[in-house]
């Protein structure tokens, strides 16, 4: 045991037992952040804040929510919305945060792509981030089911049915996941478990890992400059804070983040108070009805792009069923971003505007995602079906073919 002496104060008392100073050094005071980063790098703390909001409001909602198909709808729409004091506030905050968090996740991801932050040395940051995205999607989906409205029910129906497309075991798998031949009470209770217990634990675990994975290769910066963090940190600590290219996470860096959080929170509460409807689909205010499908089924906005990839292939090609092509494309869309560090074959780390072809690729991808999102919401008939088809095809080509080719060209160009 270490030498324990009489403490000079509470902090010292803790320091002797828990090494709090060391801990704070590692976590904050000597965690170095490059100076040259812009507001796009603040998305991480905003996501952390939003997750905290979701967690806390979720706890408050769970106190009144009832995971039972007979009671769920009213427990949300009557009890929480009308009887519980401020219940409406927690619900709207939870709903809006669940929606907005995806907007921020997408910005966070696209920032990573634009500045090449997924490349050599930073692959684990990227992969853990993508894992978070996937688990978050499952979290959002399982939560969407809970109020047991019409959209909840049919979203559950459609998504669980997707597993039926898996060869051989598909049908049995669907019944197993649902716990019934159709989406019903056992389905609701198990999704409840996933949403409030298992998935949040997994998410917290991966968040911790995501943060940890940042510590070793360090965060990228606006000009993708390779910094010698030890050297720059030494400069900073020796008092040459001006010339050092890094600053400590706390207090210097967080101060700036706090400003962004404040600005964001103003926007967030504006949405919660005045525009909460965008996160509340009107169809979901009808109780679930297993015998009537709503005229149009569509997911929340943040899943539209991959939903459109799923249904974009609406005719059979070369003897392969349209359904299977769609499913395969959908499967690819879910995992393809994980592989980004290897699809991008060039190992220059540079922001997109210094890589001409990649720059074009990036914006085409972004536009394509927007097109997919828009058409994912429109009914899939006539011209819409064809636009959806083209956009889905472009999506697959961009990632599977164009990106590797561009980056190989880039590598060759760099050599000659």
């Amino acid at each position: 045991m270490a030498q324990i002496r009489k403490a000079t104060g509470i902090v010292d008392w803790l320091d002797q037992r828990l090494a709090v100073h060391k801990l704070l050094d590692v976590l904050m005071v000597k965690y170095w952040i490059p100076k040259q980063i812009n507001f796009l790098w603040a998305m991480g703390v905003i996501l952390t804040t939003l997750f905290t909001v979701l967690f806390i409001t979720g706890l408050l909602l769970v106190m009144y929510y009832k995971p039972d198909t007979a009671l769920a709808f009213d427990s949300v729409n009557k009890t929480i919305m009308q009887e519980v004091e401020y219940g409406w506030l927690w619900r709207h905050m939870h709903g809006v945060a669940a929606s907005v968090i995806f907007l921020i996740i997408y910005i966070h991801m696209l920032t990573g792509i634009y500045y090449g932050s997924y490349k050599k040395g930073r692959e684990m940051i990227w992969i853990s981030g993508m894992l978070l995205f996937v688990v978050f999607s499952a979290e959002a989906f399982s939560g969407y089911m809970l109020p047991w409205g019409q959209m909840s029910y049919w979203a559950a129906q459609v998504i669980t049915n997707l597993f039926g497309g898996i060869p051989f075991i598909g049908d049995a798998l669907v019944v197993w996941i649902r716990g019934d031949y159709a989406v019903s009470d056992p389905t609701l209770t198990r999704f409840f478990m996933l949403h409030v217990c298992l998935l949040p634990i997994v998410i917290i675990g991966i968040i911790a890992f995501h943060f940890y994975s940042l510590r070793i290769p360090h965060v990228n910066n606006e000009i993708a400059e390779e910094l010698d963090f030890d050297l720059e940190a030494e400069k900073y600590m020796s008092g040459d804070t001006k010339n050092s290219k890094v600053i400590p996470f706390w207090p210097a860096f967080l101060a700036k983040d706090f400003m962004y959080i404040s600005l964001f929170m103003i926007f967030f509460f504006y949405l919660v108070c005045f525009k909460f409807n965008f996160a509340m689909d009107p169809i979901n205010f009808d109780p679930a009805d297993a015998l009537k499908t709503p005229a149009h089924i569509y997911p929340e906005w943040y899943f539209l792009w991959s939903y459109e990839v799923l249904r974009g292939f609406f005719f059979d090609i070369g003897g392969i069923k349209a359904f299977d092509i769609g499913l395969a494309a959908f499967g690819i869309a879910q995992v393809i971003f994980f592989l980004l560090p290897w699809l991008d074959r060039s190992d220059v780390v540079k922001p997109a505007h210094e890589r001409p072809l990649f720059f074009i690729w990036f914006w085409v991808l972004l536009i394509d995602l927007i097109v997919l999102t828009i058409y994912g919401k429109l009914p899939p008939t006539g011209v819409n079906a064809w636009v959806g088809f083209a956009a889905s095809l472009v999506f697959l080509l961009l990632l599977l073919v164009v990106l590797p080719v561009i980056t190989i060209l880039e590598r060759k160009g760099a050599k000659s």
Binding site: G179, D180, A182, P186, A290, A385
Partner: protein, 167 residues
């Protein structure tokens, strides 16, 4: 020294073995926990009397929490030897009313004589065969038994078995 090393590796192996067996058993138990309950499996049978149906009429009933479409074909709807359920000399289309794409309920449009699925634009004809869009196969036929003018869903009668054998 040597003995303690081998003892250690024996303990390692023993632990590994016990853990593996335990792991397999718990996975099986966990899998079964997620299976449908016996009360769910015994969802039972549904009997419908079709004698009052008009030609061209579509009736939707519920069986095992799924919608079942029963369409009594009229003269100008094409017959389908393989899929029609013949009761009392009239042909019926009896199908599970869930789109074979992703499980939405298609709506019947009498004027076009089509079942249209709004979700991704799938279409089925009056025999339940997929004619357009992403659905990969015709609407499924539930197990049935014919009992006079009545249809018993959930039981596999000879007509159903014959239909399955041919398909």
């Amino acid at each position: 020294m040597a003995t303690s090393e081998s003892r250690r590796s024996f303990m390692g192996l023993a632990f590994g073995g016990v853990a593996a067996v335990g792991g397999v058993f718990s996975l099986v138990a966990m899998k079964k926990t997620w299976d449908p309950l016996p009360s769910v499996k015994a969802a039972g049978f549904t009997t419908v009397d079709l004698s009052s149906m008009q030609e061209g009429e579509l009736r939707t009933i519920e069986w095992r929490k799924k919608p079942i479409f029963i369409l009594k074909k009229d003269a100008n709807m094409a017959k389908d030897e393989k899929r029609d359920v013949v009761i009392d000399n009239s042909a019926y289309t009896v199908v599970i009313g869930l789109c074979t794409h992703l499980g939405c309920i298609p709506a019947y449009v009498p004027s076009e004589q089509l079942f249209k699925c709004a979700c991704h634009g799938g279409e089925f004809d009056t025999s339940g065969k997929n004619v357009f869009g992403p659905p990969p196969r015709p609407l499924d036929i539930p197990p049935f038994k014919i009992d006079g003018t009545k249809l018993v869903l959930g039981e596999e009668g000879p007509e159903y078995q014959k239909m399955i054998a041919e398909a």
